[in-house]
């Protein structure tokens, strides 16, 4: 992995952390907001890196709420061929997707954008909070303005936020595990694509013949 990939990973995490953070009254080190837990970060990142699993969640949301917008967003993922173009493979570890982000987080820490918060026990698991400084929010605004090619990361982080719906990292991990388990991934193996399965579910709801191309 080169510094170039750390940078793009750092961009992805920057948007996840800023979009997923919450303001807190306790300002330990002058942070503007806090992103709670590494488990939650991994859960968000999984949806950032597997567009087919995200589309699956959008369809699930449509089935529950009947929001046509959810179906349209899911369809656009396939229209843009995202499962091929945007998937970044993750490894299944214990109860979900997991990857250590130390190098990318270091890029953000060294630029004074985030700080690593104190560890605390959440649901009997020791979790790390991420302190998000005002500079991080400013940088996001500047990126949207100066580097349009990276806007996708902000938009996707916002879509993941919509799906995560303030759920805890544990709840998200549990939810994702069900789906990953269904995909029968070996422990430690690459989490596979479920593109074909999700595409079929989408076509059924769009009342289009199965096998037809959405592209």
């Amino acid at each position: 992995m080169t510094h170039r990939t750390y940078f793009i990973e750092a961009i992805r995490l920057l948007f996840v952390l800023t979009v997923g953070s919450e303001t807190t009254r306790i300002k330990t080190r002058g942070e503007a907001a806090v992103f709670s837990g590494e488990t939650r970060l991994n859960a968000w990142d999984f949806w950032m890196r597997y567009p087919d699993y995200l589309a699956d969640e959008l369809i699930e949301r449509y089935d529950v709420t009947g929001e046509d917008d959810m179906l349209a967003k899911a369809e656009k993922i396939f229209v843009d061929n995202e499962p091929d173009q945007r998937r970044l493979v993750m490894i299944r570890y214990r109860f979900g997707a997991y990857e250590k982000h130390d190098d990318a987080l270091a890029v953000l820490v060294s630029r004074g954008l985030i700080g690593i918060g104190g560890r605390k026990d959440v649901d009997r698991i020791r979790e790390t909070d991420f302190l998000i400084f005002k500079e991080a929010f400013d940088l996001c605004s500047q990126i949207v303005k100066d580097e349009p090619v990276l806007i996708w990361y902000r938009d996707r982080a916002e879509l993941v936020h919509l799906i995560a719906d303030h759920r805890s990292g544990y709840a998200l991990k549990k939810r994702q595990y069900e789906r990953i388990e269904y995909a029968t991934t070996l422990l430690g193996g690459e989490i596979p694509s479920i593109e074909a399965d999700v595409k079929m579910r989408l076509e059924q709801r769009l009342k289009r013949p199965v096998g037809g191309s959405a592209a």
């Binding site: 750092a10 173009q85 820490v109 630029r111 954008l113 940088l139 090619v149 990276l150």
Partner: protein, 649 residues
């Protein structure tokens, strides 16, 4: 010429004309029962001796007995005379006629017949005595007996009813006068038949009644019978032979005609059937011409198979190319995806690099301590990282990499478009080939089906062969228009030869008879008659007061005179020539006054009186009204008379 040599000459002439062997001619003559009879037998004479009849007559409810008898009759003129008509003259002549004919009930009026109880007639045939005894009770019965001079009697016939009576009298007289039944061909309802005539026709000629239609007998000349009677009574040689030959010829011609008709019908039917068969044959041959030869079918099948195989091979090739093109297209798509991904990643990474390079490190990512001012200044001067000491600015030309990645993407997109186009074309081609295969397969199946239908063609061949055979067979059986049957030809020759011989005799006799007719008619009072000529067909053209006329145009009185004159002439000429076979009796029943005047009768009876004396064997019985002139001619002894209004019986 002797009889034997005359017959021999006759048969030879027939054989020569017919170009046949004499034996063959004899066979034909035997087949048709044509007997050569060139010479008549000696004439025989009938003479009535005695007539008696008894019974009871009932007039106006009053019964009175009948017992009429007229004895001692002999040759010469005898008369039945009455002062007025309807006094019984006709009955006496009718009883005589009924006895001789054997049909009393038909000869006598029905009421008179019912009155009669017995009838006796004694007569002679050339000195032989015969007695006829009839009993009329409930039915007719009786006997015919011959009486010999010795007093011995022999019963010739006995009869229990009128049918037996008629048959007996007919056989008896035909045999004694040596008459043959004569054949006359009669046409009726477009059919013809030969009818044999005998005693009834012959005996009728002896009685002249009130029917003057024909000169001899009572039947129309059209029947052919009067001419035969003339010939028979004249005893002209060959007459019966000619009659038999003519009848046989006509019968054979009728059969021939019927046969020709059948033949024509058969021919017409056969030709019609032949035409039908020929039509069928033409149709089958036309159908046969349409069916393909097996060899053609086989060649066609081979061609079909070849084109099907060729098309199938092409399909396999195109499918193989489509598989390859699909793989190529997939590869191209993957390449496009990869190139696009690479370009995008590069762009994103470049942007991310730009973002973070613009930000100087503030803290150590490891310990989060602030970066010192010294380190930052050092980095600006040495291009070495203020955190780790590595080189900060990359030498990589970002724009060049981007251009390269864009170029890759362009190339892979082009390759994908080409693969897509190629695939599309191949699929179109595949559709065309599929159609070609289907068409070739269908054609092959069609030809194969035709080949598996050999029975249709062989069936047609069989039908054509059968039709040809039937046409051949029928053509052979078309009846050819039959040549005139040999028998008809021979019978014509027989008729001609016989007629020639008969005519030779007849013409001579007719001339003699004509002379007698003229003589006798004048003596019966037709003094104005200039000439009379009896022809073979019984026509009698006459010249009266210088004008030519014929028998049919004359008055009843004149006809009666000529009728009697002709019969008497026939008798006398036959007698003189020793050929005549007239039985010798003539009975004349005079007509009513309104038809023939009394003066006519007086003249006729006057003539008869003289002529009867001239013909020695002749017996003439005449019924007439009485007159002084008549009574002068006929003595009381030779007549029965009823004077005034008296009845004869």
């Amino acid at each position: 010429m002797s009889q034997k040599s005359a017959i021999k000459d006759w048969i030879s002439a027939i054989a020569e004309n017919a170009k046949l062997d004499v034996s063959k001619v004899e066979d034909i003559l035997a087949e048709y029962r044509i007997e050569a009879m060139p010479v008549a037998s000696t004439p025989k004479h009938l003479l009535l001796n005695r007539l008696r009849f008894t019974g009871t007559k009932i007039i106006a409810g009053v019964e009175s007995p009948i017992d009429f008898h007229w004895d001692k009759l002999g040759v010469g003129l005898w008369a039945i005379l009455s002062g007025e008509n309807f006094r019984g003259k006709s009955t006496i002549i009718q009883v005589i006629r009924g006895c001789l004919r054997g049909n009393l009930s038909q000869s006598v009026q029905a009421d008179v017949f019912a009155w009669l109880r017995t009838v006796d007639l004694d007569f002679q045939i050339d000195e032989q005595d015969f007695q006829l005894r009839l009993h009329l009770d409930d039915s007719l019965s009786g006997t015919l007996t011959r009486h010999y001079d010795s007093g011995r009697t022999r019963k010739v016939h006995s009869f229990e009813d009128e049918e037996e009576f008629e048959a007996a009298m007919s056989n008896f007289f035909m045999k004694h006068f040596d008459f043959d039944k004569f054949a006359v061909y009669r046409t009726q309802d477009e059919k013809g038949a030969t009818v044999l005539h005998g005693w009834p026709a012959l005996s009728a000629a002896m009685f002249i009644g009130t029917n003057y239609g024909t000169i001899i007998g009572e039947l129309s000349p059209v029947s052919g019978i009067p001419v035969r009677l003339l010939q028979m009574f004249l005893g002209i040689p060959w007459v019966t032979t000619l009659a038999s030959a003519s009848a046989a010829l006509k019968e054979e011609q009728r059969k021939q005609s019927a046969s020709d008709q059948l033949n024509n019908d058969a021919k017409e039917f056969t030709e019609r059937r032949l035409n039908e068969l020929r039509d069928s044959l033409a149709e089958k041959q036309s159908q046969l011409a349409k069916t393909n030869e097996t060899k053609q079918l086989q060649a066609s099948l081979v061609a079909c198979s070849e084109s099907l195989q060729e098309a199938a091979n092409r399909e396999i090739d195109v499918r193989r190319r489509i598989r390859q093109a699909t793989i190529d297209h997939e590869d191209a798509k993957i390449a496009v995806d990869e190139d696009r991904k690479a370009l995008r990643s590069h762009e994103e990474e470049s942007s991310a690099q730009t973002v973070f390079r613009a930000l100087d490190p503030k803290n150590c990512p490891r310990c989060e301590s602030s970066i010192s001012r010294t380190r930052k200044l050092n980095e600006q001067s040495s291009n070495c990282c203020s955190v780790c000491g590595g080189r900060v600015h990359s030498d990589i030309d970002e724009a060049e990499i981007k251009r390269q990645l864009s170029s890759n993407l362009y190339a892979s997109k082009k390759a994908q478009a080409e693969a897509s186009k190629c695939l599309k074309e191949l699929n179109i081609k595949l559709d065309e080939i599929k159609q070609t295969v289907a068409s070739a397969s269908s054609q092959q199946q069609k030809v194969a089906r035709q080949m598996t239908r050999p029975t249709r063609r062989s069936g047609l061949l069989t039908e054509v062969a059968e039709l040809n055979a039937r046409i051949d067979e029928l053509t052979k059986t078309i009846p050819v228009a039959s040549t005139k049957s040999t028998n008809v030809q021979v019978l014509k020759i027989i008729e001609n030869e016989t007629r020639a011989r008969m005519k030779e005799h007849q013409d001579n006799l007719l001339e003699l008879i004509s002379a007698r007719i003229l003589d006798y008619a004048r003596r019966f009072g037709m003094t104005q008659l200039d000439s009379a000529k009896l022809l073979g067909n019984l026509n009698l053209p006459v010249v009266k007061s210088g004008s030519a006329t014929s028998y049919g145009q004359l008055t009843a009185g004149e006809k009666l005179r000529l009728k009697i004159a002709t019969l008497l002439a026939l008798v006398i000429v036959g007698e003189e020539q020793n050929v005549g076979r007239y039985p010798g009796l003539l009975a004349i029943d005079s007509p009513a006054a309104q038809e023939v005047a009394l003066k006519d009768l007086e003249q006729i009876i006057s003539g008869l009186s003289e002529i009867a004396k001239e013909i020695g064997h002749l017996q003439v019985i005449v019924g007439s009204r009485s007159s002084p002139a008549i009574c002068e001619q006929i003595s009381e002894a030779r007549s029965v008379q009823a004077m005034g209004t008296d009845y004869l019986w």
